[in-house]
C-alpha cells in the first residue's frame, strides 16, 4: 500500500464544482423552506455536506480494489438490508423506504446504488475480455434485478430505475454486440405494454399519462408539472431573486426543497443561474469521465463510468421533470436536493472516483 497521496492530487475541479453545487443547494433549501415546518432543513443539509466531505475523504484514501474485492459481500448485505426495510422499515411519503431510529432515518436504496456500481465494475472486470456475451448480460442483469425488484416493492420505481443506467453503460463499455442491443430493444417493446398492464401501480400510470399530457388533470398529478413549469418560466432571464419567487415562497411549487429544488432555483435565479448551474454539473460529469479515461485499470474505469452514468441519469430525469420534458418519478437532484442519504451516497461515490484518480499516482 505504498501509494503516494497528497491533497495536491485530489480532483480539484471536481471538488470545487461539487462544493458550488452543494452551496447553491443549501441556499435554495434555505429560501424555499423559510416560514415552513422545514425551516431547519438548510443547516441540516450543511451538516450532511460536511459529513459527506468526510466520507469522501475516507473513501478516497481507501484503495478501491479493496472495496471491489468485497463487492459480492456488500451485494448480499444490500439485499438483506432491503429485505429488512420491506419488513420493518419506516413508511414516509407513501413508501416503505427508510430505516432508522427516532428522527434519524437512512434510505437504504440510495446506498445500494454504490454497491451496484461496485458489483457491475467487479463483474465486468472479471470478464477479462473486450466482448461481453449475451449470457453475461443475463447474469449481471439478474444480479441487478434482485435489488431493483426489492426497491420497486417499497414502492419506489424512480430509485429502482436509477440502477439500470449503471448496468446499461457498464455492459455497453464491456463490448456487448449491437445484435444484443437490438434484441434488448425488441424485448423492451414487448415487455413495456405488459409492464404497463400488470407491473405499474395506478399512481405510476397516472404520472406517465400526466407526463404525456399535463393539462389533462391540472389538479392532480399534472398540477406538479404545471406549477413547476410556471415557476421556471416566471424566473425569466435573471430570476426573481433569492426568497422572492412567488411560486416557491407561497407554496404553489410542490416539495421545492427536495425533488423540485431545481424548479425553485430556476424561478429565483433565472436562465442565467440555470446555465451556470448546468455548467457546474457538466464540469463535474466531465471530470468523472476524464477520471474514467485515465483510470489505471479497467475496474477503475468501470467504477467511474458507473458513477457518471448514474449522475447523468439523475440529472436528465430530475431536471427534465422540472421543465416538463420527463415524467415525475420523484428521484432527487444529486448534491442539491435536501436529504442526508442522497448526499452521503453521492459523496461516497465521488470519494471512490477520487480513489481511482489517486490510483494513477501509485509509485
Amino acid at each position: 500500500m505504498a501509494r503516494y497521496r497528497s491533497i495536491r492530487d485530489l480532483d480539484w475541479a471536481l471538488l470545487i464544482s461539487t462544493l458550488i453545487i452543494c452551496a447553491m443547494g443549501i441556499l435554495q433549501i434555505y429560501s424555499a423552506t423559510r416560514d415552513t415546518k422545514y425551516d431547519d432543513a438548510w443547516w441540516k443539509q450543511a451538516l450532511w455536506v460536511l459529513v459527506g466531505l468526510l466520507v469522501m475523504w475516507i473513501a478516497a484514501q481507501i484503495d478501491y480494489h479493496t472495496l471491489l474485492g468485497q463487492a459480492f459481500v456488500l451485494y448480499f448485505l444490500s439485499i438483506a438490508c432491503l429485505a429488512v426495510v420491506l419488513v420493518i422499515g419506516t413508511t414516509r411519503f407513501g413508501g416503505r423506504r427508510w430505516i432508522g431510529y427516532g428522527s434519524f432515518h437512512l434510505q437504504v436504496s440510495e446506498f445500494v446504488k454504490t454497491v451496484i456500481i461496485l458489483l457491475v465494475a467487479r463483474y465486468l472486470t472479471e470478464l477479462k475480455t473486450d466482448r461481453a456475451e449475451g449470457r453475461d448480460l443475463l447474469k449481471l442483469g439478474g444480479l441487478v434485478a434482485v435489488p431493483m425488484l426489492l426497491v420497486m416493492k417499497q414502492p419506489d420505481l424512480g430509485t429502482a430505475l436509477t440502477y439500470l443506467p449503471i448496468l446499461a453503460v457498464g455492459i455497453l463499455l464491456a463490448g456487448l454486440r449491437w445484435q444484443y442491443v437490438a434484441v434488448i430493444g425488441v424485448v423492451l417493446l414487448l415487455v413495456v405494454p405488459l409492464g404497463w398492464r400488470y407491473g405499474l401501480k395506478d399512481y405510476q400510470k397516472a404520472r406517465l399519462v400526466t407526463f404525456l399530457d399535463p393539462g389533462r388533470d391540472p389538479q392532480g398529478t399534472g398540477y406538479q408539472v404545471i406549477q413547476s413549469k410556471i415557476a421556471v418560466g416566471a424566473g425569466q432571464m435573471w430570476g426573481r431573486g433569492v426568497t422572492k419567487g412567488t411560486q416557491t415562497q407561497y407554496g404553489f411549487l410542490p416539495v421545492p426543497h427536495t425533488d423540485f429544488i431545481f424548479s425553485a432555483f430556476a424561478e429565483e435565479h433565472g436562465f442565467f443561474g440555470v446555465a451556470w448551474m448546468l455548467g457546474f454539473y457538466f464540469v463535474l460529469l466531465m471530470q468523472i469521465v476524464q477520471n474514467a479515461q485515465m483510470a489505471p485499470d479497467r475496474s477503475g474505469m468501470y467504477l467511474c463510468m458507473g458513477v457518471g452514468a448514474l449522475l447523468l441519469f439523475h440529472i436528465l430525469v430530475n431536471i427534465g421533470m422540472v421543465v416538463g420534458s420527463m415524467p415525475v418519478t420523484g428521484i432527487p437532484l444529486p448534491l442539491m436536493s435536501y436529504g442526508g442519504s442522497s448526499i452521503l451516497s453521492f459523496f461516497l461515490m465521488l470519494g471512490l472516483v477520487n480513489s481511482v484518480r489517486l490510483g494513477r499516482f501509485v509509485t
Partner: protein, 635 residues
Amino acid sequence: MSLWLPEHTEERIRSKPALRDDTKFASAKIAFFQYLAVGVFLFLIAGFWTLQVRDRESYKEAAERNRIKFVPLLAPRGKILDRDGRVIVDNRSSYSLMLARDHLRPQHIRPIALGLSLDPDQLEARVERFRSRPKYENIFIKNEITQGEVAFVEAHRDPDSFPELELIRAQRRLYPQNGLAAHVIGYVGEISEAELNLPEFIKYDQGAVIGKAGLERQYNDQLMGVDGQKQVVVDNHGTVRQALGIKEAIPGKNLQLTLDLDLQVVAELAMENRVGAVVALDPRNGEVLAMVSTPAYDPNKFASRIRAADWNELRNNPENPLLNRAIQAQFAPGSTFKPIVALAGLESGAIDENFKAHCPGGASFYGHYFACYLKGGHGTVDLHKGITQSCDVYFYNVGNRTGIDNIAKYADMAGLGHKTGIDLPNEMAGVVPSSEWKMRNFRQKWYAGETISVAIGQGALTVTPMQLAYAIGGLAMGGVWYPPHLVKDPDRMEKPRIGKIDPANAQKVVYGMYGVVNEAGGTGGRARLPGVSVCGKTGSAQRMSREAAKTSLGHKMKDNAWFVAFAPCEAPEITVAVLWEGAGVHGQFAAPIARDVIKAYFDKKARQARDRLVAEIKRAQPRFGPVAPQAPSQP
C-alpha cells in the same frame, strides 16, 4: 469467491490472445458517452430556454394569477327615501357565496350543492354554462346565505375539501313589510341569462343583482354603485399573505322620491282587501304623492333569488299581484270621463252652459235605445246638474252634438291615450277611440252610434288610474298638465303642457265637480270633507258587454268603481284617482278612499303649519322657555 466469477473464464482467456487490463479498448465508447452527456445537457438547457426566455411572458402571467387574487367588494345599492327623507328601502349586510373556478374540481359540485341545499343538476348546468369564460371569473352560486351555510363553508374551505368555496360580503335589499309601495319600488334580483343581453343591462355581468321592476329597474344605474376590488396575495391554501391594493366600492346613490309615506300608508289601508289602485298627484308640479296597487306582493321574497313556489304562486294568482294597476290596468273610465266630454262640448262650441236636455231614464240614438242609470230619469238637466248627478242621457246628447273627433281631441289634450311618461317601466297607454283610430286599427269608418257610449266613458275607451288623475288634475288647473314623476330631478324638470282651452270653460266643469261632492243630489257626497272644498266625479264602468255578463263568468265580472277628486277646488294641491275593480253595488265606497287620502294630505299640512308656527314663536321669543326660579328677595 470463484463461485461468483463468470463461467468459462479460463476458456475465454485461452481463446483470446492476451488480457489487456487497460482502458484503451473503451475509449470510443467513453467518447460516445461524452457526446450523450452533451446531448442531454443541450436538451435540458433548451427546455429552460423555451420556458424562461422564449415563452416567458405567459408563465410570468400565470405565476401572478397563481398568487394574486381579486376579492370583489360589492357596492351597496342606494337607499330609497320618501319626500321627507324617511327610509323606504334599506340594505342589510349578508354573505354571498362564490365558486372560484380556477380551483374547481368537477367531482365537488354535487357535494357542495347538497351541503348548501341547492339543486345539483342546476349547479352543474350553471358551471357548464361558464365553460367558455375565463377561469378567473367566479360563479355566484348563492346569495343571502344562512348561518348554517356559513358554518358549512368555513368547515370545508381547507385545501383537502372544497377550496373553491368563497364567501363574499354583500348587501341585501330590505323592503318594507306587507308590500308597502311594492309596485312603485319594484324589486331586485340576480340578472338572468336573457337580461344579460338587454342593452339596458349591457354593462353588468353575471351574478350582478339588478333592479327588475319598478323604480329599482327604472333608476338601476343610479342605485347601483360600482363594485370595488381588493387585490391580495394568497398562498396555495388560499390564505391571504399580503394586501396589495384596494379599490373601494362606490355605494349607489340614494333615491329621494316625491312619494309621501303618510299618504301612501293611508291609501294602502283604505284599499285593504280590495283589488284596484290609488294614485295621488300634486297637479301643480306632477309629483306623485301616493301610488297603490292591490293586491301587493312582498318584494323581500325577490331580494336574492325568489323560490320557485313563491314565483308560481304570484304568477298563477288570478288577481295578478305583479301587475301595477296604477299604470298598467286599462279600463273604461265610465262617468269619470264626463268632465272631459263636457269640456270638449264647451270648447268645440257644440254646447254652451245653458244647453239642456230632458232625461226620461233613457233615449234613442241611431236606432238604439240607451238607458240612463237612473231608471226614473233626471228630468230637465243642464250642464251643472248633468255633471253633479252624472246624468247619462244628458251626456249622450252632449257627445252626439260634439262628435267623436272633438271628444278624442280633448281627451288627447288631457293626456289620455298616451303614456303619461311617469318614471316607471312598462306603463300602459290606454285607448282613446276616434274615427281615425278606428280606420287605422279596424279599417272601418266610425259609426255615430258608437260616440254615444264613449260619451259616458264606455265603448273602446280605456284609461289607467294614473292617466285619469293626470287628466283631471290638469283640467282642474285650468288646462295645465304637469307630467307625473316619482323622483325629483332638478336637471330634468319637465315643462307642463298647456292646453289651448278657455279657463272659463274649465271653471264650469270644475264647478260641476264641486257639486258632485258638496251639493244635495251629488253622486259623490261621501267624499265631502269639513274645512276643505273637495271636487270629484264618480264613475262606474262595465268590464264587458251586458251579453257576456249574463254568462257563467258574469258574477265574477262586477262593475269597476272609479272616483277621481281634487282639492281645494279653487286652487288644487292634490288629485286622487281611485279604481276599485269589481266593486259592483259597493261602487259608491270608492269616494271615501279618495277622501281619506285628501284628508291625510290636509291634516299633515295643518300639522306642519302648526309645528312651523310653534317653532317660529319659540325662535322669536326665547324667554317663553323654562325660566330659572328667582331667589326670594331678602327683606
